[in-house]
Amino acid sequence: MPSIVSVSHLVKTYASGFQALKDVSLDIEEGEILALLGPNGAGKTTLISIICGIVNPSGGTVTVGGHDVVKDFRETRSMIGLVPQELTTDQFETVWNTVSFSRGLHGKKPNPAHIEKVLKDLSLYDKKDNMLRELSGGMKRRVLIAKALSHEPRVLFLDEPTAGVDVNLRKDMWQVVEKLRENGVTIILTTHYIEEAEEIADRVGVINGGKILLIEQKVELMKKLGRKQLRVELAEPLSALPEALSGYRLSVEDEGHSLIYDYDVSGERTGITTLLTALAEAGIRLKDISTRQSSLEDIFVELVGARA
């Protein structure tokens, strides 16, 4: 698939001397959902801000739809919709006016039918004449999304879209994102919620300390880095691991009540069958068996922790 956003050797050093981005390169494919994960101060917002034109880069290039974001800013910004992290709104404006204003800023002629559709899709239509200060935080977040969609963008940036949003609204937003993707919109979201990336992203990028640590298809990533864990609960606690089991990568937990066995899903042999046989031969009686696959969160913590 062709790249719609291409970031090459991007560097940003703020006036304070803080280097927010250190040689970042990244290609975003048209129509995909990319989740950018990273701790606070990792450089996520700076990266988005440069692509959208809010912050000037110190070095490197960014193209959107083949156009340079600095030289051809009109072309690139017309293609982009941005939902910022902060709930920044004109408190005294009505929902309808503020969304229409965003469309005008992007140089598009008024189109009440489109604005109506966007507001209806986001369940905002019945609030169209309300002032923004009368809306709840979740509703304001939707208004920001409506503003970003007012000019029919091809690429949508969602900077922490579900921060401080309740579970129901979060699920609603995931549906909105899914619907946008069906319409061919490329979506880049930054998030702290790893479950969000796990739920909706096609690819996951991990950024920390101004560098992209990795960028992978979510499924591949979890397959590659994902490990499984077998937990064997014992009928009677063990004081120590029997000699016969010392050859297995086993650890004893819960004061001897559980045995933990780590294995690789992609491995040819997991070793589970021989382990269970060995347990039976050692006369260890089992109470229960469960398995757990490492989540994206485990992978993320491992990655960021290891390279921080």
Binding site: I54, R74, G104, L105, K147
Partner: protein, 253 residues
Amino acid sequence: MNFEAVKSIYLFEMARTRRTLLQSVVSPVISTSLYFIVFGAAVGSRIQEIEGVSYGAFITPGLIMLTLLTQCIGNGSFGIYFPKFTGTIYELLSSPVSMTEIVLGYVGAAATKGMMIGLIILATAALFVDLSIAHPLVMLLFFVLTAVTFSLFGFIIGIWAKDFEQLNLIPMLVIPPLVFLGGSFYSIDMLPPFWQAVSHANPVLYLISGFRWSFFEIADVNPWISFTIIIAFLAVLMGLLTWIFRTGYRLRN
């Protein structure tokens, strides 16, 4: 040129004036009326004519300038500072609009509001004193040039200001003394020679003098000098703005 964006910004700003009509329009009209009552009627009736013009009429151009300068600086600075303060500036910076279009929208709206109020003051003045405008086109030229120049000045203050104190510093502390000491209420001929010389360093003197000349053909300085000074100030502001756009000063850094 993204005309839709210029129109959107302009109308959005003008809509704010409608929402705050009392504060935007009624308040300057009341305060100017008070000046006319106090200086024009009460004090003015005891002051002799200045170069054949009644005192009440003499102070009218100065009062219009006072309002125009404060309004234009206030509107121009607040228009761009407010999105910076609330954070909605992100939208402006990520839209396909050039800085020239942003300036046209904001400065255009600020100047329009300032001129609307200036004209209301002129109409109010006509209720209190006999007014005649000797050179209406020159008057209009000074009026529009001053409105645009000082709205632009306000816009730059709005970009520079980091908080409300800085935002109000120039409109509240610098402009009123310059206007009051710039011959709004007197001809500088009335001052001792030393203070006359000092007054010539005050740029607002030239604005008021030129503007007053368009009404009564009396001036403290040659109207051409007034015109040159305001064009020079406009050029300095344009230069400053170009630098701001190029460097992204306090906007994109």
